[in-house]
Symmetry: C2
Subunit: 231 residues, 2 copies
DNA sequence: CAAACTTCTCAACAATCGTTGAGAAGTATG
DNA sequence: CATACTTCTCAACGATTGTTGAGAAGTTTG
């Protein structure tokens, strides 16, 4: 039977190689840019298809749905997270600078890397529903890379999450919101401002602020002499 | 003429005071919550009206359009920004703690204050178009309060924008994304982690990181002895 | 050429959106 | 009661959305 023939010799290739995967790539590129710029609900399949020079139904045929297209865009980014995660390794006295620089470099770099992150961030902050939907994706792509580095103590995990949130905030202000003073600064001077603070988060001791709050203050007693504003 | 009568004695009150302004308040409350939770494009007028127990057209009658309703929600928040801005005044050696605490208090506090900020943040990050639309509103509500405090030098303006972005990042991770380690911490221990870093941003000297980058390093030389991890 | 196959477009569906106009329902004034 | 006014609902509009099914256009195999 012809069906069995086609099934046994799967995709033996009688058809054309017209646009083939070129259209698929064009769709993915257009989707990446539009999701990064307009967010998820702000982007339309018709608009993406138009940018790719393709009919909207072809997008559905390749990716199934808008959600799956978005997932494909997020998955299309290369190893940006491991690039950031690697910065957590190495000597501790310049940890703040390395991590800060890694963050800024990824977001200033190739759109292939930064645009999926923009899209993920816009979507994740856009609504509570999207947040919970994307939370496992965030934890997967962030904490899987960062995980082995913070297995030691829960305190270090907290520090890393705080430092990462701070750097995300800076990047949001600089690249998404476009705050004047942040956009004006070049990368190196920004690192000069930020790295000491990140260093303080990642290496200093959690000092108790108010009166009681007995819980905190774990173990490390070496704090705040040379390690904080060092870089 | 009756028209002139009604115009001269404006709203002399022949009509009913049924729901009167109660429905308006209900709409505003429902809109505030939904915009904070679902973002701008994720919220629908029909949904807001449903929460308020009211028809959708009444929303239009009171607020004109979805955009104006959103603007009313944003304007409904009290003086939250000035509350944060006031934290920038006072002795410099505990600046980081005051500012950090003010940020976290506003976001942990009354929904009347925090939800309009959530809505503004979600909308502003949601898409590039919304960002540019809301940027002047952000600058208006943030920098008008903060402005007088940073008139002195451009360097301080940069520092304040960086510190604010960082704190927004922390708040986003804690209240919007819901990162585990950040949600678990209570406010005081969070301040213990964060305040030294904010203090470093707001008071330390911008140290040159790499080799060249001649520009930076302005004037202040007092840095990093007791003021940074003090709280 | 004919048949099989892939690539892509056209037209339309059903749902939902913001928005509008007309008119009930009810209360004050004459 | 009759009139004027406010408050609110009903029904519908036009536009846009994601999504679908059928069928052109073109390429390879027999």
């Amino acid at each position: 039977m012809s069906i069995d023939q086609a099934r046994s010799a799967r995709s033996l290739g009688t058809g054309p190689r017209l646009g083939s995967r070129a259209s698929r790539e064009a769709i993915l590129l257009a989707a990446r840019t539009r999701f990064a710029k307009d967010g998820f609900s702000g982007s339309t399949i018709r608009g993406i298809a138009g940018d790719a020079g393709v009919d909207a139904s072809l997008v559905m045929q390749y990716f199934g749905s808008k959600n799956e297209l978005f997932a494909a865009v997020i998955a299309s980014g290369p190893n940006t997270m491991s690039q950031i995660a690697e910065a957590f390794d190495g000597p501790e006295d310049c940890l703040g600078e390395r991590v800060t620089r890694a963050f800024l470099e990824v977001w200033d770099g190739d759109p292939v890397e930064s645009e999926p992150l923009q899209a993920l961030l816009r979507a994740a902050i856009g609504s509570e529903q999207a947040t919970t939907q994307l939370k496992e994706l965030i934890q997967e792509r962030v904490l899987v890379d960062l995980g082995p580095r913070l297995q030691h103590d829960a305190d270090m995990k907290t520090r890393i999450e705080i430092a990462s949130s701070m750097l995300v905030g800076v990047v949001v202000g600089r690249r998404l919101v476009g705050l004047d003073a942040l956009v004006r600064q070049d990368r190196d001077s920004l690192v000069g401002y930020i790295a000491p603070a990140i260093q303080a988060i990642l290496s200093a001791e959690s000092s108790d602020v108010s009166s009681v709050t007995s819980s905190a203050a774990p173990s490390r007693s070496t704090a705040a002499h040379g390690s904080i504003p060092v870089i």
